[in-house]
């Protein structure tokens, strides 16, 4: 007699009961994190409101931060700007703006539209950053799992919900929330668990590396601090065009400055020439990144030993996604938590 779905589910439940580990949750951290987040949100909204008032006379169109980052006034320097009149037109190159130290807060509307922080960093009006990747994972999983091959297409944005399609199957597509959270960072001595404003992060590699190290958390991530720094930079680089070119270059520089990293010109597995960095982690695994030196976009990331890789076959702004990203496709109740 064949097993029904319900019968098989019961078998799975018993199996889960037998193997589920105890999860130690640091509950003492929850309330302080919540209070910190509430203060941050209130501060960010206050700064945004102040910026709105201060910049009204200069052109309020830049204030909400939904356009390219170079057009957005730095949130944390609003107080400085209040005492300095707008610069008169001059032939001299403007002084680079001081990096803000107080990040703006993102506001995610019911339709998933994001305001309050800089928007997508690419030029042009295209709403999505399109990426096509080809990935290979270890095939030898104790006889249990898969061929380990996957093609993934994504249409992502910092300003609106996006879409991910695996192996070209629109029927299995998943929507994703706006890619507005940049991670947990310490900026000017203050931890921001869900930083959304890239302007507060350095664009110089050495300074960015120091900021990353200052933002590491002892009980988060695996390996040595160098391993964790590598993982932060690798993750950012894998997000491609969602970061501006200056930040991409800085994250690359962070990896290049790690102890023992080898740098050379080389080719990825598809024969494309690029700049190559090779980092050996504390477990002896060699991670290799290959990028297009002109755009700073990754061509490939790979690991020694298991032969896994992700190859970036195509990356560009895109005018539309093949399906509208909806909450139903995302499996989320609201975009703000998706």
């Amino acid at each position: 007699m064949s097993t029904t779905d319900e019968q098989y589910a019961e078998i799975l439940r018993r199996r889960v009961e037998a193997v589920a580990p105890r999860i130690d949750v640091e509950v003492d951290r929850v309330v302080p994190r919540a209070r910190r987040r509430r203060r941050t949100a209130a501060g960010g909204l206050g700064a945004a409101a102040l910026a709105l008032v201060l910049t009204a006379g200069w052109g309020a169109g830049t204030v909400l931060g939904v356009g390219p980052s170079q057009h957005v006034p730095p949130a944390g320097t609003a107080a400085v700007r209040s005492s300095v009149p707008p610069p008169a037109a001059t032939d001299a190159a403007p002084e680079p703006a001081a990096r803000p130290t107080v990040p703006a807060a993102a506001v995610v509307a019911d339709d998933g539209t994001v305001t309050g922080v800089p928007g997508d960093p690419w030029d042009g009006e295209e709403p999505y950053w399109y990426v096509l990747t080809e990935s290979s994972f270890p095939a030898n999983l104790d006889g249990v799992v898969t061929s380990g091959q996957e093609r993934t297409e994504s249409w992502q944005s910092r300003e609106r919900p996006g879409l991910v399609v695996w192996d070209g199957e629109l029927g299995g597509a998943s929507a994703i929330g706006p890619r507005v959270v940049l991670g947990s960072w310490v900026v000017a001595g203050v931890r921001h668990d869900m930083l959304a404003d890239p302007r507060v992060l350095p664009t110089q590699a050495d300074e960015l590396a120091r900021t990353i190290r200052a933002s590491l958390q002892g009980d988060r991530g695996q390996g040595t601090d160098d391993d964790k720094v590598f993982e932060v930079a690798r993750t950012a680089l894998s997000e491609g065009g969602l970061w501006g070119q200056e930040h991409r270059a800085a994250f690359w520089g962070v990896v290049a400055s790690l102890p023992g990293v080898e740098a050379e010109q080389g080719q990825d597995g598809a024969g494309r020439t690029g700049e190559l960095l090779r980092y050996t982690d504390s477990g002896g695994v060699v991670h290799q990144l290959v990028r297009d030196g002109t755009t700073g976009l990754l061509l490939e990331e790979s690991r020694s030993g298991d032969g896994s890789f992700t190859r970036y076959l195509e990356q560009r702004p895109a005018a539309e996604a093949p399906l509208e990203p909806t909450l139903a496709l995302a499996g989320c109740a609201t975009w703000a938590t998706c």
């Binding site: 779905d5 799992v145 992700t310 499996g331």
Partner: protein, 195 residues
């Protein structure tokens, strides 16, 4: 202080708030009651104990921020909904990590304690192969025992979507774990047959 008692069924954790407590004291009592269930759900969704800790903390942070609203209804359901709705990209990133064979995977035919680790690893890998939506549905519907209607409400999808997604996800889990009716019974560290 870490909290993490042996996990139990979600529905057994009806959290009723004693009246007259301060907000933080009340929330602390809620966390103590809810963490085992939330921890297990998080682990099933991401397959990593450290990541599960972080996901539960994030869900509890959001629940605390909305406590006035959450406590009016069923706060555990609220927290679980927040937990299950966290970013898809997190799961996808985890998937890559999960699929990499961990060095501590025990060999075949080892002692019982290691069998548990191997079975656990096999389950995590099988779950990792599902799409984020499939994993959410099958975890909430079949592994945490919520009704189809509850899952639909939690995830903002129709009951029909829950049914079809859960059915397909179970089929994929059977394939991944070689849990077919005609499969030879598996034993030891590689146990994948019906037991």
């Amino acid at each position: 202080m870490p909290v993490g008692e042996a996990p139990g069924p979600a529905e057994a954790l009806a959290t009723v708030m004693p009246p007259g407590r301060g907000r933080d004291e009340e929330f602390a009592a809620f966390m103590a009651a809810a963490v085992p269930s939330l921890g297990r759900t998080a682990w099933l969704l991401c397959g990593d104990t450290h990541q599960a800790d972080e996901l539960v903390q994030q869900a509890l942070v959001r629940t605390y921020l909305a406590w006035d609203r959450a406590r009016e209804g069923e706060p555990l359901a609220y927290a679980r909904r927040v937990l299950a709705n966290q970013r898809v990209s997190t799961w996808r990133r985890r998937r890559r990590e999960v699929l990499l064979a961990p060095p501590q995977l025990p060999d075949r035919g080892v002692a019982d304690g290691q069998d548990v680790h191997a079975d656990r690893d096999q389950l995590v890998r099988a779950l990792a192969l599902l799409t984020p939506r499939q994993r959410r549905v099958v975890v909430l519907r079949h592994l945490e025992g919520l009704s189809e209607k509850e899952v639909a409400a939690d995830l903002g999808v129709s009951v029909g979507t829950v049914k079809s997604t859960a059915s397909r996800a179970l089929r994929q889990l059977r394939d991944a774990m070689n849990d077919h009716d005609d499969a030879a019974p598996a034993t030891g560290a590689q146990a994948g047959g019906l037991r």
